[in-house]
Amino acid sequence: MIKIIQKLGYSTLELVTNIGLASIFLFNSIWAIPNFKKSFPIFIKQVYFLGVLSLLIIGLSGLFIGMVLGLQGYTILIDFGSEAQVGQLVALTLLRELSPVVSAILFAGRAGSATTAEIGLMKATEQISSLEMMGIDPFHRIIGPRFWAGVFSVPVLSIIFSIVGIWGGAAIVVELLGVSDGLYWGNMIAVVDWQEDIVSSIIKSVVFAILVIWVALYQGFYCYPTAEGISSATTKTVVFSSLLVLCFDFLLTALLF
């Protein structure tokens, strides 16, 4: 009995410690760009690795999700004779929910896990300790640029996801199923609001970006420096960041809409 309570106490303390450590970590990452000229090339390189190389998977998923939405929306709405509304259905579903959430989760799988593994391996091979020994703050050199590159890349990816999805929906609904393209685009324009839908979508994806890249960097930086440790940290990154994204999606939807 006492052992169970001890265990509970231990895991509570560990949880609180981890949250505190992670918060300090986040704070350090945000303030980690002291020398713009030195950090900028690293930032660009990270935007390339995190953003540009994720374009293909984001674009393809966006295309297929948009096409599926168009197809499903059409088969349901045709029963009510209101298949003209399918454009606004596709656009609102993508902008409000799917594109921020799915692009963040895909980003966690494609780029977040890679970042964790990279930093974990740096730690295992003691590259981070050597940087510290040379008097270089790893937050300035490694963590900060990656953090900001992630925060910058995810919203861009999410915008691209929406656009590709809306065009994919148009391709199916207009070209294949024969809804007039004036109705598709016209209803969309009439309903989608710049501030309520598009700006909220971008706010959502910035928040998700911070969550995903934060979890990825933290897990990499504090993993056990062994092969097993790195593998479990990579798994944790994908699991935690996906869960956090879904949980915060609910909170943000409740707040924004």
């Binding site: 390339y48 953003g51 861009v156 929406s162 656009i163 710049w194």
Partner: protein, 147 residues
């Protein structure tokens, strides 16, 4: 250096695509318009505005000439006051009447204006009292059943 400039180019392209996407979202999907029409306010008093929402269309003969800015109760809390923004190039005679109409059978509500023939023009902030409230489908069915 060769590889580096390549990366710079790709990242630049990435940023351009993102920016272009934002523009497409804003103008093609969101219907944001740069030409912010200058407008003036006209009030209208209705006995019932059920179903009308802010940002609803205001139209003359089916042509959009403005939007509903705000819906509020009149000062004596008996009837509803609808504040509309009318495009500046539209001039309304003083005997213009307003009615709340529905686009389609179940579509959204909008305010339809019937332009009068008077020579005097409504000034910004003036009120239209000659109004017809929104048609309630339930009331109509009720009347039909009583008959």
């Amino acid at each position: 250096m060769k590889k580096n400039t390549n990366i710079y180019f790709l990242v630049g392209l990435f940023v351009c695509i993102g920016f272009l996407g934002l523009l497409i979202l804003a103008f093609r999907v969101g219907g944001l318009a740069f030409t912010s029409q200058r407008s003036y306010e006209i009030h209208a008093i209705f006995s019932d505005v059920s179903g009308l929402t802010t940002r609803a269309d205001v139209s003359i003969a089916g042509v959009n000439v403005g939007r509903v800015l705000d819906i509020d109760l009149e000062d004596d809390a008996q009837r509803a006051k609808v504040i509309m923004a009318i495009n500046e190039n539209i001039q309304l005679p003083i005997d213009t009447s307003a009615s709340i109409r529905t686009s389609g059978l179940l579509g959204s509500k909008y305010v339809g204006l019937y332009v009068g023939a008077d020579e005097e023009i409504l000034a910004p902030g003036d009120t239209i009292f000659d109004t017809q409230s929104s048609l309630q489908l339930e009331d109509l069915i009720g009347k039909f059943l009583v008959q």
